[in-house]
């Protein structure tokens, strides 16, 4: 049984064959989870070589890496490197074809280490740091020795996601009083350090930034996040049943919660081979696009704010309210829609709701095009954003960023096109990408996508088929696993879920889009002025926090200065009276 009954053939056979030819017996096992998902178990020592080949020879992008403690199942730890393999640009003259290719390797518990992939595929860096924290598996050859997720005061030998490690409620006593995290140390004449945070720039969660500047010029940047890691994966695996996790997935993100919900539901539906009704596919698509509406309006509003056009910010937020109302009307609540069950959706869209939504779409199109027009006519918008915060295509290619961040650097990559889910291959729509590589490109993409989302909501409402909205009566099969993925407003959200044998999940790996965007931010900040830093960070539309203050380190004078974040933000807007002077 398959999610899409019309799709019978396995996509991506050609990549599997090519890898088999290249690696022979190194590939020990091949299993298909879905027509577009294949897992290859490979010899541990060749893990980097196989991931490298899939990434660089077959147009692979690193979507997520999942660690798993499979000792109770097969005596080993397992690593799953999930790549979206899309072929090279030329496709060797044949039709382009894409699949999720998952490279799996087993790590023996008596020697908990594995050869790091990061030296060959830099996009793996955060994942390997996280696997070390959570499972205590040592990535040999990983250049970055620092923790990623665990705090400094966490016990060194306690790895929370190991099955025998701890109860989800356990809070170990702090091991140290001091901050031991080592930020980069950039040396050089005239280099100054500016720490931003731990409370962040655009939203209200903590993250710490350190900018290295020479005068007003950013030379390098380092940052630390995960100050408020919520332990959701552990919570889901131990406390909740698999069908309750949809409601937790809704709460991963205050903006793209529904995208996570659909990604999670899809992962279970694929693992269990559940076909969901056509109408449910359409309803999910409509709600995903409604979510994109409010998300993009928020970011466009912020773009106004950061270039000093605060009236525009207020106006964007005013019209954004209509998209929130739309969600309330269609789901019963403004956020955390709670609309999915495994097998479909819980609430149908009725005639009045449809008509009201269509009416609001029409109004929003008019209101937002007026506002976008005004934003683009703001005298300094182009001047402030063009060629600012450049994400060079080569850097993007190596770090696998996602969403508008990647599409702004010339890559037409959108999960809705590459791996269509829900109704994205049923209604016509247009993909947006630009090759400006700068803040302007990313902002314009969001503006264009907003209008495309409106059209998509309208098309789906007009063409959705009648019928049931929920499939019930399926069987829970232990230890099956699969991926679910959604193009959220900030890019691909991806979930890898493995069922347990107790109505729970054995393992849940959820990865939000910003996770893939952070590592390349460093390169976007380099070679810009600090007055542009908030603007650049906002341009990846990061999901995490409000950088409350900024520390500036002057390498020439060897002094450290802490600038309140409000001050840096003010400087970004007014570009007068540098906070570094005086």
């Amino acid at each position: 049984m398959m999610l899409r009954p019309e799709e019978k053939t396995q996509r991506g056979q050609r990549y599997v064959q090519a890898l088999r030819q290249q690696f022979g017996t190194i590939i020990q096992e091949e299993t298909w989870q879905a027509p577009e998902q294949v897992t290859l178990t490979v010899d541990l020592n060749s893990l980097p070589a196989v991931v490298d080949a899939a990434y660089h020879q077959h147009g692979g992008w690193l979507s997520v890496v999942a660690g798993n403690d499979e000792r109770p199942l097969n005596g080993h730890f397992a690593l799953y490197y999930v790549l979206s393999v899309e072929g090279d640009e030329t496709h060797n003259g044949s039709e382009p074809e894409s699949c999720y290719l998952i490279v799996r390797a087993l790590v023996p518990p008596n020697k908990p280490e594995f050869p790091a992939v990061t030296p060959r595929v830099p996009a793996a860096v955060w994942y390997e740091r996280e696997v070390r924290d959570m499972f205590g598996l040592q990535p040999v050859g990983l250049p970055d020795e620092r923790r990623l997720v665990l705090p400094d005061d966490w016990p060194a030998d306690l790895h929370p996601l190991r099955k025998d490690a701890m109860d989800y409620r356990y809070r170990p006593a702090p091991e140290t009083e001091d901050e031991t995290y080592e930020f980069f140390d950039v040396q050089g004449e005239g280099v100054l350090q500016i720490p931003l945070g731990p409370l962040h720039i655009t939203s209200d969660e903590p993250g710490h930034f350190r900018l290295f500047v020479d005068g007003e010029h950013i030379i390098d940047a380092d940052y630390r996040l995960f100050y408020v890691h919520r332990g959701m994966e552990k919570l889901a695996e131990t406390r909740m049943t698999y069908d309750q996790v949809t409601f937790l997935a809704d709460r991963i993100c205050g903006i793209c919660g529904y995208a996570h919900n659909v990604a999670y539901s899809n992962s279970i539906e694929r693992a269990l081979g559940i076909s969901i009704p056509e109408r449910a596919h359409y309803i999910r698509t409509i709600l995903l696009e409604v979510e994109r509406l409010h998300s993009h309006l928020l970011n466009l509003g912020l773009a106004c704010h950061f270039v000093g056009f605060d009236t525009g910010f207020m106006q964007f937020f005013r019209v954004r309210e209509k998209s929130m109302k739309m969600a309330e009307l269609l789901t019963g609540t403004r956020k955390t829609y709670g609309m999915n069950l495994i097998g479909g959706v819980r609430r149908d869209i009725l005639k009045e709701q449809r008509l009201q939504t269509l009416q609001w779409c029409k109004e929003l199109r008019q209101e937002v095009s007026d506002l976008v027009g005004m934003l683009l006519e703001t005298p300094n918008i182009v001047q402030r954003t063009q060629n600012v915060g450049r994400l060079e295509p080569q850097v993007a290619r190596e770090y696998s960023p996602v969403g508008p961040t990647l599409r702004g650097s010339g890559f037409p990559r959108d999960i809705r096109v590459i791996h269509p889910y829900s109704a994205y291959d049923r209604v016509p729509w247009k993909l947006t990408y630009k090759d400006g590589c700068d803040v302007l490109a990313r902002t314009l993409i969001r503006a264009e996508e907003f209008f495309e989302s409106l059209s998509m909501v309208e098309r789906c409402l007009d063409t959705m088929p009648d019928g049931p909205i929920l499939t019930e009566g399926f069987n829970y099969t232990p230890h099956r696993y699969a991926l679910g993925y959604v193009e959220a407003p900030r890019g691909e959200d991806i979930h890898w879920s493995m069922l347990g044998d107790n109505q729970k999940l054995y393992r849940w790996r959820c990865r939000a889009s910003s996770y893939n965007n952070w590592p390349s931010l460093r390169y976007m900040l380099q070679n810009n002025t600090i007055s542009d830093a908030p603007l650049i960070v906002a341009s990846i539309d990061p999901c995490y926090s409000c950088t409350e203050r900024v520390t500036v380190v002057d390498v020439r004078k060897k002094d450290v200065k802490i600038v309140p974040y409000k001050e840096l933000e003010r400087y970004c807007r007014e570009r007068k009276d540098s906070p570094l002077k005086a």
């Binding site: 909740m240 309750q244 409601f247 937790l248 709460r251 009236t311 525009g312 106006q315 005013r318 109302k325 309330e328 009307l329 019963g332 609540t333 955390t336 709670g338 819980r346 609430r347 007026d370 506002l371 027009g373 005004m374 006519e377 703001t378 005298p379």
Partner: protein, 193 residues
């Protein structure tokens, strides 16, 4: 640009609503505070199993034969799973979303239910209301069935008034016979095959 913006601002007027001095209207079907009706509740615990954040819980006191149902709004996520699974419509989401309170007590709703006593050994086992509910449903279902005599029906009902342990013991001879007819070679020992 400035002119256009000014025109827009003037056209819109004041966008801020005077909430909380004027109530805000919510869309029909809005999911607010779950409203509970203990009269209709049979203490079956379906909602407590479905509730994702454990806002709903059930405690069973086998000593005193009391089951306590409680809802703590402080944990509720307004998902309506309880409403969806409740067999009697005892819990339904309303439109109220203003739950702020100074005391935890205001956020807790509780109801107590009597447990049924086993007619044979006297142990408490299921919620009495739930048992009556089930019996009434079965009554409906069995009534029209030709194959069941009045006696059959009351025997079956009497069986349901026993705790699971006694039920197994009392029902054993019948099961033995059934098994014997179906598979003569199989021997039933003390309830196990």
């Amino acid at each position: 640009m400035v002119l256009k913006l000014l025109r827009e601002v003037l056209k819109v007027g004041q966008a801020t609503v005077p909430y909380p001095f004027v109530p805000v209207e919510v869309a029909p079907g809005f999911r607010g505070k779950p409203e509970y009706n203990p009269e209709q509740c049979i203490a079956c615990a379906a909602c407590t199993i479905a509730c994702p954040p454990n806002a709903l819980s059930m405690e069973t006191d086998l000593e005193n034969g009391v089951r306590t149902w409680s809802l703590f709004y402080g944990r509720c996520i307004f998902c309506a799973r309880c409403e969806e699974v409740c067999p009697t419509g005892a819990i339904k989401l309303g439109a109220d979303f203003e739950l702020a309170s100074f005391t935890r007590q205001d956020l807790t709703v509780q109801a107590e239910f009597r447990l049924a006593e086993c007619q044979r050994c006297g142990a408490y086992f299921a919620s009495a209301k739930e048992l009556e509910h089930v019996l009434a449903l079965l009554d409906q279902a069995w009534k029209g069935q030709q194959s069941l005599s009045e006696d059959d029906i009351s025997a079956r009902k009497a069986l349901l008034r026993l705790c699971p342990e006694c039920r197994r013991k009392v029902d054993l001879p019948r099961v033995k016979e059934l098994v014997h007819t179906a598979w003569p070679a199989v021997e039933v020992l003390d309830g196990r095959i």
